[in-house]
Point group: C2
Chain length 120, copies 2
DNA sequence: TATTGTTATACTCTATAACTATA
DNA sequence: TATAGTTATAGAGTATAACAATA
């Protein structure tokens, strides 16, 4: 499933990890790098170049929270990208469900979300 | 889900990739490295050290098919390992289903298998 | 000429440790 | 003293290319 999604977002110029970061920033404006790292299980040391790359491409920008923390937000360009991203995700879900037993196509997503929520 | 399974099989001394290879060898005695690589999307060049490591630990052995091909089989030690492996997999499935909606715990596995079969 | 397996090696991803600056 | 972020770097995992031996 993730391999398919990875291929779909490749033309947008980002990886699955970067996609997750952007979604997290979109859903949590002013989030800090360290918080993203905790949620996505990415080490602080690896967040630095990751965020720098997203900033260099103009998708996010930083605002100082205090002297040592910086809050992240999507730029307008980042918001636009997120729309395209959601199209890819929707197509990916359709592709997944295409071969699921007919009875209730959305049951799978509901079940997976329930499991994910319980574990996280 | 895979992260949990990875932790469960770690005490057995193998990785998820090695687990997949062993299962494939168990289900297809006399299989060739190149065939495993095709199924699991592992490059030939990376199969060499992978198989060598499994052989060094006494879990598989090679039999010449012809001058350039070698068929793989589990050793008795490998068969024993596979039993322990299946216990881990069963525990992993139980762990996954524990937080699935009650209605039909096995529906998820059936659905995922149907999807997997259709894609592969 | 195509295939099986191997080696060498580069690239990416992730992990650890040490550092600066700030709370 | 603890935390946010950075840098340097080592270790996996995975990629390409070139090779030998055989079909």
């Amino acid at each position: 499933m993730l391999a398919d999604l990875g291929q779909r977002i490749e033309p947008l110029g980002l990886t699955l990890t970067e996609m997750s970061v952007l979604q997290l920033v979109a859903a949590n404006p002013q989030i800090r790098q360290s918080e993203i790292g905790q949620v996505l299980a990415i080490k602080r040391a690896n967040m630095a170049p990751l965020i720098a790359a997203l900033e260099a491409r103009g998708w996010i920008h930083r605002e100082a929270i205090d002297g040592r923390s910086q809050g992240l937000r999507l730029t307008p360009s980042g918001e636009t990208l997120l729309v395209d991203l959601k199209v890819c995700i929707t197509e990916n879900e359709r592709w997944i469900l295409r071969d699921a037993p007919k009875q209730d196509p959305s049951q799978l997503i509901k079940t997976l979300k329930a499991i994910w929520t319980a574990k996280a």
